[in-house]
């Protein structure tokens, strides 16, 4: 049952990506292209995606986190870190370069698989390789003092 519910929740996420236009890399790149503002090719839509998503999540999280526990789990796994370490800047900087090159971030890239394009498959394959590499390096004994704690989803 919990598995089926998580499939449905992923489906809602994917539908949101498609309806919002974020599943189209061209739209993402045109948002990131602030140099296109003078020419009128800048597409501000992504700001509205963020606004809609954050508004709903802000209100929803406040309500849900007042509950004693999640429906299918014993406790909430909400990140607690507040420190600004080098990784919280270096990681997003590296990710942002990749995002600007192809117009894909992880969610839309996975949803793009369902469009059946070969480009999405190539991107997702190397994205997964990058993810595995990052986790491998973070788990090296010599680096664990820089690495984040093993707490799940330490956003």
């Amino acid at each position: 049952m919990a598995i089926l519910v998580q499939f449905a929740i992923g489906l809602v996420f994917g539908l949101g990506l498609i309806v919002s236009g974020m599943a189209n890399p061209a739209k993402v790149l045109n948002f990131l292209d602030v140099g296109g503002i003078p020419a009128g090719t800048w597409d501000a839509s992504l700001a509205f995606v963020m606004a809609g998503a954050v508004a709903v999540t802000f209100v929803g999280f406040n309500r849900v986190l007042k509950r004693a526990r999640p429906f299918f789990a014993a406790r909430f796994y909400v990140p607690t870190r507040t420190d600004i370490d080098p990784r919280i800047v270096a990681g997003p900087a590296i990710f942002g370069i990749g995002w600007g090159m192809a117009g894909f971030c992880p969610g839309p890239a996975l949803t793009a698989l369902g469009f059946g394009s070969a480009s999405a498959f190539i991107f997702v394959a190397t994205m997964c390789a990058g993810m595995v590499l990052a986790r491998f390096i973070a788990h090296l004994p010599s680096l664990t003092r820089y690495a984040t704690p093993a707490d799940p989803l330490e956003t």
Binding site: I9, T57, F61, A90, P92
Partner: protein, 142 residues
């Protein structure tokens, strides 16, 4: 470069669906709907027993276009301009960076900002700036 049209209503609505999904996942599993975290944990090392749930979430993401095609009979426009070498490098950077920085657009940008997390604010500002700088270099410096 392919021109896209400003779609404030559809984007706001789609964004609300993404938010709804994040809220539902927190309600159901108590976890952040961060796609990079969910996808990365499909690979070893395994730290918990949430594999099947994560796989189901990712399957839902992939199934979304199939459902859209089933219902509407067609798929919305998707233009991928990057060539194969760029896709390979971009995929590596996106995968590595999102895990190294503990999150991507969904985990930091949507869930983190909604929790008023300072770490997520720093992360979101950084990947937005890096993405904009990259597009600027590619499109306007050549």
């Amino acid at each position: 470069m392919s021109v896209t049209h400003f779609t404030p209503v559809a984007s706001l609505l789609g964004g609300a669906l993404i938010g709804l999904s994040a809220v539902l996942l927190m309600w159901a599993t108590g976890r952040i709907a961060g796609v990079s975290g969910i996808a990365a944990r499909l690979f070893p090392p395994y730290e918990d027993r949430e594999f099947a749930g994560r796989l189901a979430f990712v399957a839902g993401l992939i199934a979304a276009p199939l459902v859209v095609r089933l219902v509407t009979g067609s798929l919305p426009e998707q233009t991928i301009a990057a060539g194969v070498p760029a896709l390979i490098v971009a995929g590596l950077l996106t995968g590595f960076g999102s895990v190294w920085g503990s999150g991507c657009t969904s985990g930091h940008g949507v869930c983190g900002l909604s929790r008023l997390s300072v770490r997520s604010l720093v992360a979101t500002a950084t990947f937005m700036a890096a993405g904009m700088a990259t597009v600027f270099v590619i499109r306007h410096w050549s």
